[in-house]
Symmetry: C2
Subunit: 290 residues, 2 copies
């Protein structure tokens, strides 16, 4: 067991340049390559993506890159949490083959000016309050795909809208990549796992439970026969703002594919929300009538 662990640790390759990463990817030719792009500060949610890649593919590449162009001017780019040593330990123990950890200038060299824009599904939900978010996400993800050249990529349903954007981009740009959706992972008390949870005070951490609980309430109401989205949204809002200092960014009840708001919950429906607690902005979602 010790020997096996040691072997895995020795074998994780690290690349910070695109040239090294491409050289490693080329050496994987003929095998299946899985890829998990992350912004680091890895938690069990990330690791569930990694595990799914490890069990699906011959080789697994994980990237850690805090993508500056998806952060707005007043967002938390500078305080985004990081723990590279801890991340490396987790990835090595899991048996990841390659960590790609590029510098900012490697991904966005001087004169960079090409962007990918997915229309329509980026106008709602997080796209409303974070207008450059999905342009930044689509652009960096396409670049990472082109550098790593995976056949399989793994994204969490926690970022439901991001998944919709990636799936659309992969289809529209004719990429030969299977996008795997991995369920959201929660803390034992129900809080959706997020690297941003670290920035919560103990008190705000407690208040943050109102997000998942408001989703559970809405689910229960739907089970009991409520279908009016306005009514469901109002009771979610009441539940969340019962705590002080909660600033609701959006509560959306929408089609899980088009992300268009609906008025009556009939078939499969996404309930998603974003709430600011102090300086942190948290998101959560669930599917009802699945």
């Amino acid at each position: 067991m010790m020997v096996a662990e040691l072997k895995q640790q020795v074998l994780m390759q690290k690349a910070s340049s695109t040239r090294t990463m491409k050289r490693i990817s080329n050496s994987f030719h003929g095998t299946s390559v899985g890829f998990v792009p992350t912004m680091g500060y890895l938690h069990e949610g990330h690791m569930s993506l990694v595990k799914q890649s490890l069990s699906t593919c011959d080789h697994t590449v994980v990237s850690i890159f805090v993508n500056p162009i998806q952060f707005g001017a007043n967002e938390d780019l500078d305080v985004y949490p990081h723990d590279l040593e801890g991340d490396i330990e987790k990835l090595e123990s899991a048996g990841v083959d390659v960590l790609f950890q590029p510098h900012r200038e490697t991904i966005y060299p001087k004169g960079f000016k090409t962007y990918v824009q997915v229309d329509e599904i980026t106008d709602q939900l997080c796209g409303t309050s974070r207008p450059g978010l999905f342009k930044g996400v689509a652009t960096v993800v396409l670049k990472l795909f082109n550098i790593v050249r995976p056949q399989h990529v793994f994204f969490g349903e926690k970022d439901w809208q991001q998944l919709a954007v990636i799936e659309t981009m992969v289809r529209d740009l004719n990429l030969d990549i299977s996008v795997h959706r991995v369920p959201l992972v929660r803390e034992p008390d129900g809080l959706a796992m997020s690297s941003r949870n670290l920035n919560l005070s103990a008190e705000d951490r407690q208040k943050a439970l109102s997000l998942s609980r408001s989703l559970e309430d809405a689910k229960e109401k739907i089970r009991q026969g409520t279908t009016a989205a306005s009514q469901l949204k109002q009771s979610m809002k009441d539940r969340i703002t019962a705590e002080s200092g909660m600033q609701i960014d959006y509560i959306s009840i929408c089609d899980p594919i088009s992300l268009q708001e609906i008025e009556e919950v009939k078939g499969r429906t996404l309930i998603a929300l974003a709430v600011k607690i102090g300086s942190s902005r948290l998101i959560d979602n669930c599917i009802v009538k699945d």
Copy 2:
């Protein structure tokens, strides 16, 4: 010789679906693939790209696709000339391996919503009067690259700005593709070859010579010591508008890389222009002080 020609003709494969094209591309794995994207109605300019690909690569793929999203509402999409039989004959005789000729719905299926935008270098020259042009070009070219998967691509310097956009996109999106620049090809009398020349009346065809002649004049003036861009532009304008019915879209004297306008011709400089003659819009360019 007859036998060799016959063999070439038999061997040109045709694909109209992305699946067939990708299957053929996969079968080329381990060999070098060159790609020439066109809108058809092939002339010697296109064939010079094809020839360069044939002499550079193991396999050559040519696409014919009149890309609707790069045409504005009042542009010539519906009257864009075509001659598929003639094109096939030219490509087969040249020894092209594959013709990819997708339907519009193959490239832009229902629900298509992902676009590639190259900033800055698309604001000037043709980008000014044709605002969606380069977004449409970059998007379709990236899609075609992803379907055909070439290592080498060939573009003509006639569309200088398009070449700059493609080169920037390939670099920024980390594509493993060599972009080959191929010189503009002219008719014996100097007119830059273009599929759009077909739409000119005999009289307009004659007037169209003023484009290349104004470039020659400017070159000569620069040789004789003129450096002021404003002066050069004015004499080009005078030369062109000496013909009746000529509507100048732009005359640009600019840096060949950034496409930023310059005031004094010192080093390597691009002179580019677009002129409407009747319903046709023609472009031409040359490099000075190379």
